[in-house]
Symmetry: C2
Subunit: 220 residues, 2 copies
């Protein structure tokens, strides 16, 4: 009903949380492949990603891995009130983080309603992102899933020219619920069909098209 109020809210939420982290956080640098937080480990800090790409990975008892989401600069980790990490948080490439102890974070939340609003906004966005992935996963064919994944990834980074893919094929496979080989085949198919251009395996460019992204690209 009120897009104005909402965008104001979003802007406020961003600045509120960013400002809070700017004041109370300690900055740290994480090497590629390093685990920031283990699954089931007590959540001692909340994080803000300054640079790099983080993957949230859930490991099943059978040893399978499901990547729930890829997070980038400006995204947050551990904003919820769960006492433990429900998934592992791992650095895909070199990551720079701002960390705030949960005790400090919780204390601030008890007094600052604005900060709470920002947390609410970000959690709601996370719900939307998961919903978008659920819809993406429901897309039947492997090629469609990979195409949608690439379109959303590109839209996050400004889709002009070649875009970096920090994560490997295995990561994409575990994110989309496909095998690594099927993901690779999907890349080849998209390339052969002219939908994408590849430079090596880690850079791609989308062919120019009308904005048909399935309708949830913005939510992701």
């Amino acid at each position: 009903m009120n897009a104005v109020q909402d965008s104001r809210c979003a802007a406020r939420g961003e600045s509120e949380l960013a400002a809070f982290f700017g004041i109370h956080a300690t900055t740290m640098k994480i090497e590629p492949g390093t685990t920031i937080a283990h699954q089931c480990e007590p959540a001692r800090s909340a994080y803000r990603i300054v640079r790099g790409c983080v993957r949230s990975a859930y490991y099943t008892q059978e040893g399978d891995r499901k990547i729930l989401q890829f997070l980038g600069a400006g995204d947050y980790l551990g904003l919820g009130d769960a006492p433990h990490w429900s998934a592992a948080q791992e650095a895909v490439d070199t990551v720079v983080l701002e960390a705030v102890p949960r005790t400090v974070f919780e204390a601030a939340l008890r007094h600052d309603c604005m900060l709470q609003g920002a947390v609410r906004h970000n959690l709601a966005r996370e719900v939307e992102a998961h919903a978008a992935l659920l819809v993406l996963t429901a897309q039947t064919t492997a090629v469609d899933r990979v195409r949608l994944f690439l379109e959303r990834h590109a839209s996050r980074r400004g889709n002009s020219g070649f875009v970096v893919l920090p994560m490997g094929r295995r990561d994409i496979a575990d994110h989309l619920g496909l095998s690594m080989e099927t993901v690779s085949r999907a890349f080849s198919t998209l390339k052969a069909h002219g939908d994408i251009a590849l430079r090596g395996a880690s850079f791609f460019r989308l062919a120019q098209r009308d904005g048909d992204d399935g309708g949830l690209a913005n939510a992701a």
Copy 2:
């Protein structure tokens, strides 16, 4: 892990929000199959489910439907700050709702930090639930997906004796990313294998087993 701390947290969140709805909400009764809120429609109210089963359905431009979650008594709708419903909310069976206008809800949130904490808790739970579904969907075989779905459904309603399945096979199929026929076949397979007992198509009972639920049953 520490169920004590977590349940304490949940209890606080529950009572805060429930009390707020008890004071400010108007109660309404919804007939089976009725749409409570349309996708993309402005979100004018937040809801608390008193009785019945609600499905959150996302409709794609191609006309496909993905059921993001089934909600039951005690669950909430529209706790996020999004100005529009990102998915349709539909009554599966006869549903009793408590509704609070968004304006009233937002105004209360600005002053009441406890209420904000309860909202945060419920949003975090929703994120967990979506993650659980993502993991469930990643389970390869159809029979496994249906078995996990039934186990989680039963665990929500106290798993003694026969449990009601308010939703039809089509709904389950659109929830798990399978075809209706495959879901039906999975039911038949589970029944033949002795994993479940069926009474009609809407009542089932799980065979007694050790608690092997894949590890996310509680989060859903």
